[in-house]
């Protein structure tokens, strides 16, 4: 299993995967209820609303209230999915999530679109790069960052039957879609190994998984053996998979569309530091806000592009030998 063998199916928005997934979740489970804060269109809720109008709750531009209503709906057995942009799903409503959802052990699914730099032109007010950290710090919160359309659809359906609060993070732009169409390669809490290798482990999540695939192909052409693992579930982290991989490769790169403070990289580093210390290089934003621009240009400017991952891997390998 090599990166060279991974093939692109098509390009689709991960948020569209959410829209299809939540419609199917609604078909499969009559307790699924969807709430939005005036972003039904952006979150692709059309099919759900058309099929299940009585199970759709428009909250207007009032995210704090939406989170509380979602908590209340669970009392009575509903499975509420809240939908808005990632920034308004987390930073804006942190205390509501903390007290009414996480501390209260409520079965709420917080579904967050337009995360990260790839939101693009709207700029830093909307490009949250701290949300994974905010959510993973909450006791009992599950944090899932699927990598493409198919996986977002699979995750959206899977969380309906997964008890407990979940943060599901996805994005805005069309992006490489390459995981299985039926979602059978996705399981909450189980890391997805995309290639076997012995020189370096690359742990990636979200949009950067495809960037890591591209980097892996280049590294393989250069003669390196790359182990690429998609950490779609950042919490609970599949520690066994992480430890097994770094014991074999001896060095790692983490790649995420998020601040390197508090994100996936920190989670991987903690497992490494306490189990099997190794050199690690971080791909992510370096304690900075984003800005307006095209997604591809932003990834390049902030050091989250394919060549950055290649360079980070070579540096990690060199540090291991040094």
């Amino acid at each position: 299993m090599k990166c060279a063998d991974i093939t692109l199916l098509n390009e689709k928005e991960t948020r569209a995967g959410f829209g299809e997934g939540v419609f199917e979740a609604g078909q499969e489970n009559p307790n699924v209820v969807v709430l939005t804060a005036d972003l039904a269109g952006s979150l692709k809720l059309g099919p759900f609303i058309k099929a299940f109008p009585e199970r759709f709750i428009q909250c207007g531009i009032a995210e704090a209230n939406m989170m509380g209503i979602a908590a209340g709906l669970t009392i009575g057995g509903k499975i509420p999915y809240t939908t808005t942009f990632a920034n308004f799903s987390t930073g804006r409503v942190y205390d509501q999530i903390r007290q009414s959802i996480a501390y209260s052990d409520k079965n709420v699914k917080i579904c967050a679109s337009h995360a990260g730099l790839t939101l693009g032109e709207d700029g830093a007010t909307h490009q949250i790069l701290e949300d994974i950290g905010l959510m993973k710090m909450l006791p009992g919160m599950t944090v899932i960052v699927p990598c493409d359309f198919n996986q977002t659809k699979a995750a959206t359906k899977a969380i309906a039957s997964y008890e407990g609060p979940v943060y599901l993070r996805f994005g805005r732009p069309k992006w490489a879609n390459f995981t299985k169409e039926d979602g059978s390669d996705f399981q909450i809490g189980k890391a997805q190994k995309l290639s076997d290798g012995k020189d370096v482990s690359i742990f990636a999540c979200g949009h950067l998984v495809w960037k890591a695939v591209e980097a892996g192909k280049i590294l393989e052409e250069k003669g390196y053996s790359v182990e690429l693992i998609n950490i779609h579930t950042i919490k609970p982290l599949d520690k066994d998979a992480v430890i097994a991989s770094i014991q074999k490769t001896g060095c790692a790169v983490t790649a995420e569309e998020h601040n390197i403070l508090g994100g996936l990289g920190d989670s991987i580093a903690q497992v490494a530091a306490t189990n099997h210390p190794i050199p690690i290089e971080y791909i992510g934003t370096k304690d900075t806000f984003g800005e307006s621009g095209k997604p591809v240009d932003l990834l390049k400017k902030y050091g989250l592009d394919t060549p950055d991952i290649v360079a980070a891997a070579e540096k990690a390998i060199a540090r291991k030998k040094g």
Binding site: G60, N65, S104
Partner: protein, 280 residues
């Protein structure tokens, strides 16, 4: 159906529980707790159709949510006296390894509590969600909530007030503990609430006022509130109470919002409150 005298007896015992609990750990919030003792007694012993043992789901019963979680002493006392858990557990209030946390939580699995509260302004949204779940489930029971008047300064409350009217959440009865006091002083000095009745009406609620420290008025007021429900509008009960009601030196002042009586003050308070059901 309990008589007014029976309810007054329970409320007296609840007030004893409150001052004893707060005194025992020298922390907690006696003022608002005493002011709401009559309301919560009438609610749990005369109004709510509840099922025991407790289930989180709450289907087929009336629900109550305490949004101003700092008045946990009155809530815990009433829950214990209503049979949710042993009254002896009141002695663990605010101590380590207790289910009776400083502010109510579901996290320690205390029967009767369905949401954590303490950080203010969140309970009305939760109550709306529970009320909407009841509508989706075809459950004809009511959802009650209680809020401090100072708590209305939180913006989320008004998001929720707007939502409840827009979505015609008419199985919801939200009561405001209108004592005019908050930690830093009278609400009118800290942050004026304006004409609350007109504000709720303007948002599209059915609004009524109630004397919250007159047991007969509370009992009849709650009946009036449930009669007003189910007609397309959420119901707001503006409940006039006195902070610290029932203990003369605590009455009417914000000073007793969040401090505990000393030994002499406890003795003085208990002398004013008849032990009707036996102390815990």
């Amino acid at each position: 159906m309990a008589s007014i005298q029976e309810l007054q007896n329970i409320a007296s015992q609840v007030r004893r529980d409150i001052v004893r609990m707060v005194h025992a750990v020298q922390s907690g919030h006696p003022g608002g707790s005493l002011g709401c003792a009559d309301f919560l007694t009438a609610l749990y012993f005369n109004k709510l159709r509840i099922k025991l043992p407790f289930s989180m789901d709450g289907t087929g019963e009336d629900l109550f949510f305490l949004s101003n979680g700092h008045i946990s002493p009155v809530y815990y006392s009433v829950l214990a006296r209503a049979g949710y858990f042993e009254i002896s557990e009141l002695a663990t209030f605010r101590k380590i390894n207790s289910r009776l946390q400083g502010h109510p939580t579901t996290h320690e699995h205390l029967p009767g509590v369905r949401i954590a509260s303490g950080s203010l302004g969140q309970g009305l949204s939760v109550a709306i969600g529970a009320a909407l779940a009841k509508k989706l489930n075809g459950d004809q029971h009511f959802v009650f909530s209680l809020h401090g008047d100072g708590e209305l300064q939180e913006g989320q409350i008004w998001e929720a007030v707007m939502h409840a009217a827009h979505h015609k959440v008419d199985n919801l009865i939200a009561t405001i503990d209108w004592n005019g006091q908050q930690i830093d002083g009278p609400t009118e000095e800290v942050m004026s609430l304006g004409n609350l009745a007109e504000k709720f009406k303007a948002f599209g609620w059915h609004v009524m006022e109630m004397e919250g420290n007159d047991m007969s008025a509370v009992v009849s007021g709650l009946d009036t509130a449930t009669q007003a429900a189910g007609q397309g509008k959420p119901v707001c009960v503006l409940m006039k109470t006195g902070m610290g009601k029932g203990v003369d030196f605590m009455e009417g002042s914000h000073e007793w919002h969040g401090i505990a009586p000393n030994d002499a003050q406890l003795e003085s308070a208990l002398a004013q409150l008849e032990e009707t059901l036996g102390d815990y």
